[in-house]
């Protein structure tokens, strides 16, 4: 048994393969998200489908098992559309899924493609009424004159059926491609962001939204910067942030003005002049921004690193983690094959003590903020047999490659892990590798 990383409590933990799921080969997973309790895990794919997994209760008979995730519900969220005026197809690919906090027995989530956001209700049905008076068990209507007695229908248990129904459709508010949605802490509103604008919606109202950020220049020729991600503050319902393609983050307060064009805070790290190149701006473009659960920090992902920012300090991040610094010398090639434009996401663990993000070759990286240790793991079939322990991976940067190390030139840049999610309470992670979903848990030795 190998011990690899120390996460909290200084106890050695190993990461196990809990289960992995094979999705339809033609569909690439495009988003992964746990709900607030961690009981449900939603995935969206390029074909517009949403697949929800449910964490099954641990079996009393086998307590050492943490419980498995099984398919809970599958539904088609978005269909491909065609914009006839522009002769462009609107992709049905699900860009983001965000859960709403659970308020009753049903679950609600928002899913969005490039243009339209939908609110879905996922509810269970495990009972069925039997003994109708006016129709028999087949559903055929009974002849009213034949009915001689009345009875009260009885609820009988049935096989669990999970139904998904669209409750709201928020459409026609975005000219450009939606890249983010974020539910506000008031649980009544949410924001949606595209390349140039951010809108604020009320969950009950679909025919209007408030435009709160607009960076579209009067003359599109002058466009040099776009919005790349946006998120609501987890605790303060009036605060949200949005990141840009120039590596800046703006924190805005909706109480200040109707149109939040002037940010309350502006986060940008001064550029290191010694490392300036033609690719500096591209690799500084922020692909994801996430608040910590505490609301005190936020994390940004650019092409080569992950940065943790203290909301009270705007001039530089408090922590910087290199994800794959060995790619810095390959930027030209990565620019040529467009990999430099890949948008990696990042996530916090439940206690904000660790962060995770993906890389190439189906590698993903975890950083412990307290111990400053990091680990590289691989999401692959070979190394992920059920209950198998994951072996840490290493990329050799120098000339001499040690055994078990992989050289930079051998990395598969088609295998990229863009989407990862961390269970809000437990050490369970979901990693999307193209069309495969891996779920890992840690096992305490």
């Amino acid at each position: 048994v190998y011990t690899y990383i120390t996460l909290r409590d200084h106890r050695a933990r190993t990461w196990d393969s809990l289960r992995f799921v094979f999705l339809f080969p033609a569909d690439i997973i495009s988003t992964v998200e746990f709900n607030y309790s961690g009981e449900l895990l939603a995935t969206g794919d390029k074909g517009g489908r949403v697949v929800i997994f449910q964490h099954e209760q641990e079996s009393k008979n086998r307590p050492h098992l943490r419980g498995e995730y099984n398919v809970y519900s599958t539904f088609q969220s978005h269909e491909p559309e065609f914009d006839y005026l522009k002769s462009l197809e609107i992709e049905e690919k699900i860009n983001k899924i965000r859960w709403l906090p659970q308020q009753n027995a049903a679950h609600f989530l928002l899913s969005t493609n490039d243009k339209t956001i939908k609110l879905w209700k996922i509810s269970e049905r495990d009972k069925r009424a039997e003994g109708y008076n006016l129709k028999d068990e087949d559903g055929r209507l009974r002849d009213p004159f034949r009915i001689t007695s009345l009875r009260v229908p009885v609820l009988m248990p049935m096989d669990l059926m999970v139904e998904a129904s669209p409750r709201r459709i928020f459409a026609n508010a975005h000219t450009y491609h939606i890249n983010s949605i974020s539910v506000n802490s008031d649980h009544e509103t949410y924001l949606s962001a595209d390349d140039l604008r951010i809108n604020l919606w009320h969950l009950e109202i679909t025919d209007r939204s408030f435009n709160i950020v607009d960076i579209k220049p009067a003359n599109m020729e002058e466009l040099t910067e776009v919005i790349t991600a946006a998120e609501c503050h987890p605790l303060q319902c009036n605060v949200f942030v949005y990141s840009s393609s120039k590596g800046t983050i703006r924190l805005c307060d909706t109480r200040a003005a109707a149109l939040c064009d002037r940010q309350a805070k502006f986060f940008e790290e001064p550029e290191d002049p010694s490392s300036r190149s033609f690719f500096s701006e591209i690799i500084s473009s922020i692909s994801d921004v996430k608040f910590s659960h505490s609301g005190r920090y936020m994390m940004t992902r650019d092409y080569l690193s992950v940065k943790v920012w203290d909301l009270n300090m705007e001039n530089r991040p408090v922590e910087t983690y290199q994800v794959h610094e060995y790619l810095r010398s390959k930027l030209c090639s990565l620019y040529e094959n467009d990999c430099i434009f890949d948008k990696f996401e990042c996530c916090w663990n439940g206690s904000d003590s660790a962060i995770m993000t993906g890389s190439y070759n189906n590698f993903f990286r975890m950083f412990d903020r307290n111990t400053r240790r990091d680990i590289t793991l691989e999401a692959s079939r070979e190394s992920s047999k059920p209950r198998a322990t994951l072996k840490p991976r290493k990329v050799s940067t120098g000339g001499k490659r040690k055994k078990d190390e992989i050289s930079v030139d051998s990395l598969d840049f088609n295998k990229k892990i863009l989407h990862t999610a961390w269970h809000p309470k437990d050490n369970v992670i979901a990693v999307a590798a193209t069309n495969n979903l891996y779920i890992f848990q840690d096992k305490i030795n």
Partner: protein, 337 residues
């Protein structure tokens, strides 16, 4: 392994790949031999200048920079082949091109290159090149829109999609249908046009522009001596087509665009298309200038418009010339010669 794009080889910025070495000298040589051998039609060819430029241009860094520039322009030009026109990606590539252009302008290589290109002859096989490069979606062609791989006027095309009417919200913008579908090629490249590229000149008929091209050739060249800032800034507002070629070969290149759409100029098609739309809904900035931009620009006219954001651009004379040698160079890459 790093996946290499079909027509480009993997390059390394630390040292030029062998293929680059063989490619560049050919192109570079042509530039400088052209600039040295051509008659002084441009008026300001200084024999000493090419040697200085030669030194800087043949340096490893300059070659890599040129390679990056070519690559970026191809990416923008061929955006229409992508399934999804990605605004963020296009903006980042355009910014990279601007950055290179600014740097090249500062060390003087930009002007030399454009001057050399202006004087360069344009072989007929370039017409084929433009056919390949200008290929656009059928839908766009059917819609009657002229192909504008680097349409200057286009601009907002691909980005400026419709503004949406929100029911019940009076303050939101009025719905405006974007014009005929724009090839993403256009959309991605169009916005790159610098601020001074625009101009009402794109609103004019093709015929008018043709005439203007020939007229302005001389003007352009003259201005070039005066550091052509006038050339650029005038291009912004004046009706002259500052992107006009200054040689017959240039017209041949532009001619291919015209050949592609020998039909009446866009105006009638557009008018017909929008005859039933209330003109008051039009956003003139985006619709008229965008749709009526003539397919006069060569693929590298885009570069000229990227010189700077401001109206007073330094890379002046470039706006008066088409970057034909760049086109040839790109064709070599594509055809694999």
């Amino acid at each position: 392994m790093l996946r290499s794009v079909g027509y480009l080889t993997v390059c390394s910025f630390s040292s030029p790949a062998p293929q680059r070495d063989t490619m560049f000298p050919k192109g570079t040589k042509r530039k400088f031999s052209d600039s040295g051998e051509e008659p002084v039609s441009s008026g300001d060819q200084v024999p000493a200048a090419p040697s200085v430029a030669t030194r800087s241009l043949t340096s490893s860094y300059s070659l890599q920079r040129q390679s990056l520039l070519d690559m970026s322009l191809i990416k923008l030009q061929l955006c229409h082949m992508l399934v999804e026109p990605n605004l963020c990606r296009s903006v980042l590539i355009a910014n990279t091109v601007r950055q290179i252009q600014e740097e090249m302008t500062q060390d003087g290589t930009w002007q030399i290159m454009t001057q050399a290109l202006a004087a360069a002859q344009c072989p007929t096989d370039r017409l084929v090149a433009t056919e390949v490069l200008c290929r656009q979606t059928d839908a766009a062609a059917q819609a009657g829109q002229s192909p504008k791989p680097f349409s200057v006027g286009g601009l907002e095309e691909g980005y400026h999609a419709e503004e949406v009417v929100m029911e019940g919200d009076v303050e939101t913008e009025v719905t405006m249908s974007t014009l005929a579908p724009v090839s993403p090629q256009l959309s991605s490249a169009s916005y790159l046009a610098g601020p001074f590229v625009m101009g009402p000149c794109w609103d004019e008929d093709e015929e008018e522009e043709e005439e203007e091209e020939e007229e302005e050739d001389g003007e352009c060249e003259e201005d070039e001596e005066d550091d052509s800032e006038d050339c650029v800034s005038e291009g912004e507002e004046a009706d002259r087509d500052h992107l006009s070629p200054d040689s017959r070969t240039g017209e041949q290149v532009f001619g291919t665009f015209e050949i592609k759409h020998p039909a009446p100029p866009p105006d009638p098609a557009l008018e017909e298309l929008f005859s039933d739309v209330d003109p008051s809904y039009y956003d003139l900035d985006t619709v008229l200038t965008g749709m009526q931009s003539a397919p006069k620009m060569g693929p590298y006219d885009l570069l000229e418009s990227l010189s700077s954001h401001g109206p007073t651009a330094l890379s002046s004379s470039s706006s008066c010339r088409s970057d034909l040698n760049e086109l040839d160079h790109i064709m070599e890459i594509i055809v694999g010669s």
